[in-house]
């Protein structure tokens, strides 16, 4: 069976289906889909500020999705990515609050601490899986909750602002500790370069490296991979830590450019969103940045949608959620990967 046009445009179908579904939903609420979708378009691309906002939100999403490509390749469900983002934010905050160095050094250390924090949290989940036999989904969920509790403790305890903890967040960091921003927006060009680099590394690792092959073997069948000499435990933990480091970097981008301090719910579900991105992209590496960008545009557009139509605020979430639902309904990713393999081999 050779892949045809249907296979190529497959990821677009759920998008169209979700748009159709949401249109029907809007009509049921007596709202015009044309007005609604044009409000969303304007919300995402109506001005340069809005476009920059879409890009700024896209960066951590892309970082997380890139990391997840690695764990999915290894057959791992890294649900704990939310906690890894949070630990990254905490790592960056720790450096931001405790050191005062020249900006380049300060920011480098913040980013390294964030990546270490994310990798540590992911490593624990990987270690629990390989040594303790705890499935990474359950370990990840527990670690997500622990990360939230840790944030709440830090912002209401040791890192609370001098005027008293309000559970909002820490004091804003100094200028030297924050990523340089583009023209008063929340978009940091440096973060974009880092995300682009990270994504390229993931792409090369998956396509042209022995590690990528090992992960692939692990993902397909861990037992035979082991028999073929792939240390499945070691590779699984490494894959988790790699993803955790990228998620941690995403967390650093959140605290150092989107916000200027550590806030409660700093990850805000971006990790879960990234899981949806990778699923919607049907695990195709090149689709991931586009799907992630699309999600960012939809969610940002949904803000203006709510403001203009005064419809329920979750419409953006419904739209993205329905898309993924349609992917699961329409497309069977394993079948798709089967097709890809057939193509690669042929």
């Amino acid at each position: 069976m050779r892949p045809g046009w249907l296979d190529r445009i497959w990821p677009l179908l759920p998008v169209l289906a979700a748009l159709a579904f949401t249109s029907v939903l809007l009509l049921l609420f007596k709202a015009s889909p044309v007005v609604a979708f044009s409000a969303m378009l304007e919300g995402a691309f109506g001005s340069s500020e809005r476009i920059l906002n879409v890009i700024a939100f896209w960066i951590p999403l892309l970082l997380c999705a890139a990391g997840l490509l690695i764990t999915f390749q290894a057959g791992l469900w890294n649900i704990g990515i939310e906690g890894q983002i949070i630990l990254g934010s905490i790592g960056a905050t720790w450096v931001a609050l405790s050191l005062e160095l020249a900006a380049p050094l300060q920011i480098t250390l913040e980013i390294l601490a964030a990546m270490a924090g994310g990798a540590l949290w992911a490593g624990i989940a990987g270690w629990l899986k390989t040594r303790g036999g705890v499935h990474e989904i359950f370990g990840g969920l527990a670690l997500n909750n622990l990360a939230i509790i840790l944030t709440n403790y830090l912002i209401s305890g040791p890192w609370q602002p001098p005027e008293g903890g309000s559970f909002r967040g820490t004091v804003p960091f100094g200028e030297h500790a924050l990523l340089p921003l583009f023209d008063g927006s929340r978009f940091s060009p440096l973060a974009l370069i880092l995300a682009g680099t990270a994504f390229s590394i993931v792409m090369i690792a998956l396509r042209n490296s022995t590690w990528g092959l090992k992960l692939k073997a692990l993902g397909r069948n861990s037992r035979s991979a082991f028999l073929l000499g792939v240390s499945s435990n070691r590779e699984a933990v490494l894959a988790m830590m790699f993803c955790g480091a990228l998620a941690g970097l995403g967390g650093a981008v959140r605290v150092l450019s989107w916000f200027d301090s550590l806030r409660q719910s700093i990850s805000g579900g971006i990790g879960y969103l990234a899981l949806l991105v990778v699923m919607l992209a049907a695990y195709r590496v090149l689709w991931v940045p586009f799907v992630a960008f699309f999600f960012s545009a939809v969610l940002n557009g949904a803000i203006v949608l709510q403001l203009r139509t005064q419809l329920h605020s979750s419409l953006g979430d419904i739209l993205t959620g329905v898309m993924v639902l349609f992917v699961l309904l329409l497309g069977d990713p394993i079948r798709l990967r089967g097709l890809r393999r057939a193509k690669d081999d042929g």
């Binding site: 159709a20 709440n152 804003p172 916000f259 806030r263 409660q264 805000g268 403001l307 005064q310």
Partner: protein
């Protein structure tokens, strides 16, 4: 093969429905447009005000955010103003949304007044106000104007809930048989501290003056759950906190959180013939869950204050101020007449009710001020000297809970 056909069919169906939706859309549009233009056509004389209101939580939370949403609607109804409401602006619900982005769009839609309804927005409101000097911003519950940090186009508004909490505390003290009152607190900050303190001072006053009992025997404890509402795994579970209070001898439970656990649990225990009562918080209809167990509810009503602010912005007479609005004691239960209020519950005995009315009359006339010294802090230091009364600042910035309240101050 059949599967592929099925998929194709399904895709065609979807594309078809998409086309259908697109075709149906223009038909829906004209029905909407005239509706929006109508008010302008009716009142060509006055330029209708457009104002934006940003909520931190959902507009139907039966608590803080709902009170603001209803206040905003009250303005829209009474002034014929256009309301742009944005709910649930917080990083957990909307990680992609920012206050400046939301406000920018409100202003592009013609808003000349923006009300941000949480202290969560205090800093961001100050920043965004500075970049829109022609628009008036009001931050509810903030104190930037009072501290002098606010730009010229930023005002603050808050209701004097402290007095209503004193009434609530009085109702609790008039009812308790075990002499033990439990207060379910949210997180600890200046606002929540002064509300607990007011409730305690009201309770102490009434315990001593109407019941003739020694206030030293009054047991008043606060348990902070850690946030405004229950977050499983993060905060203490308010249901457990309430049950625990009752199991350890408290027979009146006061709530300081956004949600309804206190009245829920107490209602169940009351229905099982236990002698327990509750004072819920925030939402005027909160007693409805368990009317017989409810002593009354202190509530916020933002409509009157927001209407006055909107009116002044529309007329161009707005002046910057830090409003800490006292209750209108002539209409304490009428949300259209007062900024903070109190609705008595069925759980109050006739005797308690009479004493409470006397207490409220005393507050109204100024004869009674529960913030009259001597008031010591928990560490034993004197805060208000004997005979003196606390200033607004001393109440607003209360650094510690008063002596006599059990529970942490920070």
């Amino acid at each position: 093969m059949s599967r592929n056909k099925l998929n194709l069919l399904f895709s065609l169906l979807i594309i078809g429905s998409l086309l259908l939706a697109a075709c149906a859309a223009p038909a829906a549009e004209p029905t909407e447009a005239p509706a929006a233009e109508e008010p302008a056509a009716e009142e060509p004389a006055a330029e209708p005000l457009t104002f934006g209101v940003v909520l931190v939580g959902p507009a139907n939370d039966h608590g803080w955010s709902q009170a603001h949403a209803e206040g905003a609607q009250y303005v829209a109804d009474n002034l014929g103003a256009n309301l742009i409401l944005f709910e649930s602006l917080n990083p957990a619900d909307k990680p992609e949304a920012t206050l400046d982005g939301v406000v920018d769009d409100m202003i592009s839609q013609g808003a000349t007044l923006i009300i941000t309804t949480s202290d969560e927005f205090e800093e961001d409101t100050a920043t965004v106000a500075a970049s829109h000097p022609d628009v008036i911003f009001i931050n509810a519950s903030g104190d930037d104007v009072h501290t002098g940090e606010a730009g010229p186009n930023l005002g603050n508004v808050m209701g004097r809930m402290e007095d209503m909490k004193a009434i609530a505390g009085c109702a609790a003290a008039l009812t308790t048989q075990t002499g033990s009152i439990g207060y379910v607190g949210p997180l600890i900050n200046f606002e929540t501290r002064r509300l607990v303190a007011s409730a305690y001072l009201g309770a102490k006053y009434c315990y001593e003056n109407y019941r003739g009992l020694d206030p030293a025997d009054l047991d008043f404890a606060v348990t902070w759950i850690g946030f405004w509402f229950n977050i499983p795994g993060v905060t203490l579970d308010p249901t457990e906190v309430v049950s625990n209070f009752i199991d350890t001898g408290s027979d009146v439970i006061m709530s300081g959180i956004d949600t309804t656990e206190a009245i829920d649990v107490v209602g169940q225990r009351f229905a099982a013939d236990e002698v327990v009562h509750a004072v819920p918080y925030d939402f005027i209809g909160a007693c409805e869950t368990a009317p017989a167990a409810c002593l009354g509810v202190p509530f916020f009503s933002w409509g009157p204050a927001y209407l006055a602010l909107a009116q002044s912005v529309q007329d161009g007479t707005w002046v910057q101020s830090w409003d800490w609005n006292a209750a209108n004691y002539n209409a304490l239960g009428d949300p259209t007449q007062t900024d903070v209020g109190w609705v008595p519950g069925e759980g109050l005995s006739a005797e308690a009710s009479a004493s409470l009315d006397q207490f409220i009359a005393g507050l109204a006339s100024g004869e009674i001020n529960v913030w009259t010294g001597p008031i010591n802090l928990q560490d034993g230091s004197e805060y208000i000297a004997a005979g003196a009364t606390a200033t607004d600042d001393e109440i607003w910035y209360l650094p510690q809970l008063p002596e006599g309240v059990e529970g942490p101050s920070e």
